[in-house]
Amino acid sequence: MAFEGGPDKLLFSLSPDKKIVNISGSCLSYFWPDKKMLVKLKILIGLIAVVLLNGTAFAASFTATLDRDTLMLGDSATLSLAFEGGQPQTTPTPRVPGLQIVNSGNSQNFSYINGAMSSTVTVTFSVTPQRAGEFVIPALAADVNGQRLVTEPLKLTVQTAAAPSAAAVNSGSEIAFLKLTLPQKKIYSGETVVGQIELCLRDDVQNFGNFQFSGTPADGFQIGKMAQGSNRRTQIGNRVYTIVPISIALTAVKSGALTLGPFTANAVVVLPSQNQGGDPFFGRFFNQGEQRQVSLTSEEISAEALPLPNENVPVDFNGAIGNFSLNVSAGPTNLTVGDPVTLRVQISGRGAFDAVSLPTQNSWHDFKAFPPTAKVETHDQFGLQGSKTFEQIVSPQNADVHELPAFSFSFFNPDDGKYHTLTQPATPLQIHSAGSTVLPTVAGNKNANSETPATPKDILPIKENLGTVTKSSAPLISSPVFFAAQSLPVLAFLAAFVCRKRADNLANNPRLRRQRAVAQLVRDGVNDLRKFATENKPDEFFATLFRLLQEQLGERLDCPATAITENVIEEHPILRTAPKATLDGLRELFQLCNQARYAPVRGSSELNSVAAQFEKVVGELQNLKA
């Protein structure tokens, strides 16, 4: 493989017999070196181009469609704008008062039919009516491939949801409908009743799904739990319907006129397909069905909520409505002033347990009452049948109390329209004054013989011993002094570490060791010299002086002290770098030492001056680089 030719004409040679002239021709001639093949290829390309041009030259169109022309208020329709054979420069957005039209997406579709290729761009809008009535989506205009295209206006009818008429139901024309019933039209305010809404499906409905309430208006009712019952079939008019019952707990929350409904819902039902021909017998088994979205509306029901009677209202009535029974227990009954007594009140029966609360007992003024706990256990799916159990801790406040007073609970029974009061008799108590009785069982006491731990019934008593009292202060770890104190062992360790390093350093350096030893020797020697000078002992003075000179010079010159003589001053290379005054001083000191052996005895003052001269010379020597 090689490149040939100049920069403006590259010839790319793959093999000696295949030459490439230009880029397009070169590639084609490589794959189809035969000229006839090349001609055929050109014809094919020409055909493809004709087909493509044919497709693109297809006349563009712009259409607007609605997926339905009638819908219920609350539902939505889909508006589709389809541009076939081209793309619009801008997509028009329809604006119609009373209709909320929101773009919900774009899609593009390509098709090739009988040699003609076409592309379709579809823009969809969600159309949600804000009121009932007749609407017209006006003609929409768009520029497609330079053409000005206009759609046809579209009509949309929006109807208010309404229950089907009895005639329509009886005629069997309704595929599905809702039926709302109340067990009674007169109820008491606060009373809970179970209403029923029935979803009726015509017998030809093969299946249904996506059932969803879209509106559950209830003026004066509080809607509680819902529960679906068992399906049943019944004849309505000319057709058999499947009934799907849904029970709803409804509580009247005000007195006066109440209205319930119309409930609205949406569902998808599956009906036998009308477009699958063939034998009706086999169609029954093999008909796949046709899904249809249905909007359902129930009728509106009126009811009346009666206020609770004002006569014979018990003093302790606190809003409980239903039919209840009462069970009260209390314990322990032998206790000390201030000890807790657990009062357990169980209210059982049928009614709105949410509204049942523990009544205030006015005669319990000798007791301190703690907030009660409540636990509801219901046995039905609406929470209306069951029991509510209260536990309340009360503690006697003085030793004069002898009983837990009678407990009463009042409720209104809507079945007979009367108030009822249930009373539990007083419970005798033995109350001891604080400190005069045995302490109650406590959590902290451990009895080795008991197999199960004792359940505490009260707190442990107060402590008599005050114990350690301190001034309130911040924790130690937020004290700077505490943190500073922690640096002391660190500093001690660092000091020990430095000492250790210095000792190691000295042990491994004999010259340094000798330097320090000689320095110490000189310091001691100078003192001796001063002493000998004062005592006028010239022999000892000069002997010491000579020895100190030997030691200091030996250390500086790194040679034995005994090998040091006056000649060393002239001969040793290190001393040649010393200042002349120092060397002169050394010579003079050596000469003085020599002279002392022969010269007469000198005075103290002269010895002191020699000692001073020695100190000066030694100082200069110690500064000399060894």
Binding site: I459, T470, S472, L476, V481, P489
Partner: protein
């Protein structure tokens, strides 16, 4: 080196400084309690605490008096104060558990590790860690001063290093818990937590007397709290007593 003994001397004898002053008031409060005058006893204990004197016994008795007066939240707050001073007091733990059982609704509880690190007070943890730290560094110093002791001190050094690191970690957890995991105890019957730190904000949830809540934030007399169910809201600081972590 004189600082260290001084700290210990201060710790050992500081407890007796105020004992003489408060002993008489304490006895009087105990007598009120014995007579069943729990509210008066609670007020007396609180008066002593307002002088700045603290003692686990004082908080314990104060908690008892508040409980007997029907104030669960204040009792729990007092017991938790006492717990920070005497975390291993069995009677205190029993009373705290009993009162907590009386609280209605959801409430926060300490996690296992919070209970575990709470076995020591923060000061006990700090002193223990300091002692171990000093001993460890004393061993290090001895190894420097007397290198011949290094083989003999090797095991002891490692043991003390391990103990110091462990104790330091526990202290770190204690400090994190103390300074960051603050808790609010509701001290009124029904405290309505709001969605914002102002009175007109929408109600978020209601906490009952004695409910313990995690503190998330503070702002202008309002405390942002979160209950055990993860609901958060703002409570007026007047409705709660805020405690540091255990």
């Amino acid at each position: 080196m004189k600082t260290f003994p001084a700290i210990f001397i201060a710790l050992a004898f500081a407890g007796n400084i105020f004992a003489a002053d408060v002993a008489a008031d304490f006895t009087a409060a105990n007598q009120l309690y014995a007579k069943g005058k729990f509210s008066d006893a609670a007020a007396s204990y609180e008066k002593i605490l307002q002088t700045g004197a603290v003692s686990p016994t004082l908080f314990f008795n104060f908690g008892n008096a508040e409980f007997k007066s029907g104030h669960l939240g204040k009792a729990i707050a007092a017991y938790r104060h006492a717990e920070q001073l005497a975390p291993r007091d069995a009677e205190l733990r029993a009373n705290l558990a009993f009162v907590r059982n009386q609280v209605q609704g959801v409430t926060q509880r300490e996690s296992f590790w919070q209970n575990w690190v709470g076995t020591l007070t923060l000061n006990e943890g700090a002193v223990l860690t300091a002692i171990l730290f000093w001993l460890t560094l004393a061993l290090f110093s001895a190894r420097q001063i007397r290198p011949t002791l290094v083989p003999k001190l090797k095991s002891a050094t490692w043991i003390f290093i391990t103990l110091t690191l462990f104790s330091g970690t526990v202290l770190g957890l204690q400090a994190a818990n103390h300074f960051s995991a603050a808790c609010a105890v509701v001290t009124t019957d029904n405290a309505t937590a709001r969605s914002g730190p102002f009175d007109d904000a929408q109600s978020a949830f209601t906490a009952r007397d004695g409910a313990e809540l995690s503190v998330l934030d503070w702002r202008d007399g309002w405390v942002q709290v979160m209950d055990a169910n993860g609901k958060s809201g703002w409570l007026s600081a007047k409705l709660v007593e805020v405690l540091p972590g255990a």
